[in-house]
């Protein structure tokens, strides 16, 4: 039912996305953005020692997440993926529990740094700091899924810096050899901390796929419909047994790498401002308005509601308890001696 409303071309219907999807995608992007702004505020107030920003990556993450089936598919994200895990079922409260290192932090009970996502319930595999290790786990899981004849696709996310590690090479190779149901999503924001893509990646990321015998595609990572589209194609291929795909989503990170970084040493303000003109959220909102999905007022209301929700849940997380010190000794090994 592709049709124009208010003069905008409907690109979502042919992708199988309904109005509710778009509204929900928009809300998820807003939640991520406001969680990010809120966590920076806590950091400036000295209440959060470490912040990993997501702003700029919302379209890449939410669009690609939407292409998978929650509850069935499996996710191996990296630290930048706050919007992704929000799309998969994390709440803002969960995010802030992790930020503050509280006992109820679903990822690690306060053991890991913020943004080290994980949840068995949500099929989000616990991630670490060492870059790109998760892509091999994704390959192993994809192999296991097929071995068990389960209908599941595995997605793994990483920055363009992550493509440099040997783990990434190994995962691409293994996935290609076994035609695994696996989707590789590169969020290429052109920097690994301060190192520019030109010093990081010889050639182009998406072009690497051919050398491993499967398709690589490049897409505008700031266009949520586009990131959904290319990922959906890849997920469908994987689910049909046609093997892996490498997707390169080109985007930009608006803030410093983390709160420990100062990006003014390596990026001009002009470059950052330029990139912000391509902010994926206003861009999506223009689409929503043009196609008549939401009015300007609807959007203002959605923004207010999301901001309010984030503030409320952040406050809740702030009140939560720290873990008991002695709990630090637990879970080095299984406690019941039983299987994981």
């Amino acid at each position: 039912m592709a049709k124009k409303r208010s003069g905008g071309t409907d690109r979502h219907s042919e992708l199988g996305l309904k109005r509710e999807d778009l509204v929900s995608m928009h809300r998820t992007m807003l939640l991520a953005r406001f969680c990010d702004e809120r966590q920076w505020a806590f950091n400036r107030q000295g209440k959060a020692p470490f912040v990993v920003p997501v702003s700029g990556h919302e379209a890449a993450q939410v669009g690609s997440a939407w292409a998978f089936e929650a509850g069935k598919d499996v996710f191996c994200p990296y630290y930048r993926d706050m919007a992704l895990v929000l799309a998969l079922g994390f709440t803002p409260r969960d995010v802030f529990l992790g930020l503050f290192g509280k006992a109820e932090d679903p990822s690690s009970g306060g053991r890991q740094m913020p943004a080290h996502w994980g949840s068995r319930r949500l099929n989000i595999i616990s991630g670490s700091s060492p870059i790109a290790t998760q892509v091999l786990h994704a390959a192993g899981i994809a192999y296991a899924k097929r071995y068990k004849k389960e209908d599941a696709v595995v997605g793994t996310w990483f920055g363009e810096g992550g493509t440099s590690e040997g783990d990434w090479h190994g995962a691409m190779n293994f996935a290609g050899i076994h035609k695994l149901p696996l989707v590789f999503v590169c969020e290429n924001n052109q920097y690994a901390i301060s190192v520019h893509e030109s010093k990081q990646v010889a050639g182009r990321v998406y072009k690497r796929a051919e050398g491993y015998g499967f398709p690589g595609v490049e897409a505008d990572g700031n266009d949520v419909l586009e990131t959904f589209r290319v990922t959906k194609e890849a997920v469908d291929r994987a689910r049909a047994g046609d093997g892996p795909t490498l997707i390169e989503l080109r985007t930009y990170r608006f803030f410093s790498h983390t709160s420990d970084d100062d990006d003014r040493t390596y990026r001009t303000r002009a470059e950052v401002e330029q990139a912000k003109r391509n902010d994926p959220i206003p861009r999506f909102e223009r689409y929503l308005v043009e196609t008549g999905i939401l009015s300007e007022d609807d959007i203002a209301a959605a923004r207010a509601e999301a901001k309010e929700e984030v503030a409320r849940q952040a406050a809740e997380a702030q009140e939560a308890d720290f873990p008991d010190p002695d709990s630090a000794a637990r879970h080095v090994f299984a406690e019941d001696g039983g299987a994981a």
Binding site: P130, L136, G170, N173, A340
Partner: protein, 327 residues
Amino acid sequence: MTVKNVVQAVHDTLHDEMARDDRIVVLGEDVGARGGVFRATMGFLDEFGPERVIDTPLDECLIAGVAIGMAVDGLRPVAEIQFADFIFPAFNQIVSEAARLRYRSNGDFGCPLVIRAPYGGGVHGALYHSQSVEALFAHVPGLKVVAPSDPADVKGMLIAAIEDPDPVMFFEHKKTYRLVRGEVPDERYTTPLGKAKVARPGSDLTVVSYGLMLQHSLEAAERLATEDIDVEVIDLRSIYPLDIDTVLGSVGKTSKVMIVYEDNRFLGVGAEVAAQIAENALFELDGPIVRIGGPHVPAMPFSPPLEHWFLPDADRLEQEMRKLAEF
């Protein structure tokens, strides 16, 4: 009971476990048609098929990382690293990932993974087919590290390792593969990880060892028995958990202790054993805590006279034991 050597025990145990539990898969270099370069998986490809017997690319990082993913998703991977010397490309995946997955997820995820690797020297393997690497892993919280060398223990501990909900590094001394033979019970059983055993009871001197050096220690002890020096030899079997109680029990009896290991001495397993004895039983000792370990030289050169220079044998151990007994 059937008499087997070490590598037969590995092969048969792995075979029988795979036959009873289809969550178990083996993966590594040449584990398929070749049956492993030491033939530990001979015939598996035909019997269990290529989905369960996976010839991987030549990338140990991949082997470990993929195995972790499989373990997380409910399989029971038994990965083979062709030689322990080649485990280092996988170091990050093992140490940062397998070892920390449960802890970092506050118990939400586990990693029931076994990594088997032949280690040790005395086979003209030179600098990269002779190393002992157990100490490097035993230092890392979250890993269990075992090194059985008696075929019956190999069976019981390999089953225990596969059943274990956490990652287990399973090191097999390649020189013992054919050298050490013993009776292996035919029924299925497990031998708990983390327990040492008294391989030879004695009263004058405690010798703590494992792997190939255990064999040399036992031989030296037998020789000394003819001189009325009665050596108790303990087979550690497990490096982490370390069964210090069994060691301390023996030291309490003999008052003298020597630790014999093939790995480089400095910060090898003997360092921890010695340190724990020094912390707990200092005043029960009638002699210094002696460590016999590899010199601080890359283990180990190829040329026969050089390899022999590196590796302690029963003659040398006999002398050292006699010296300590007479201290």
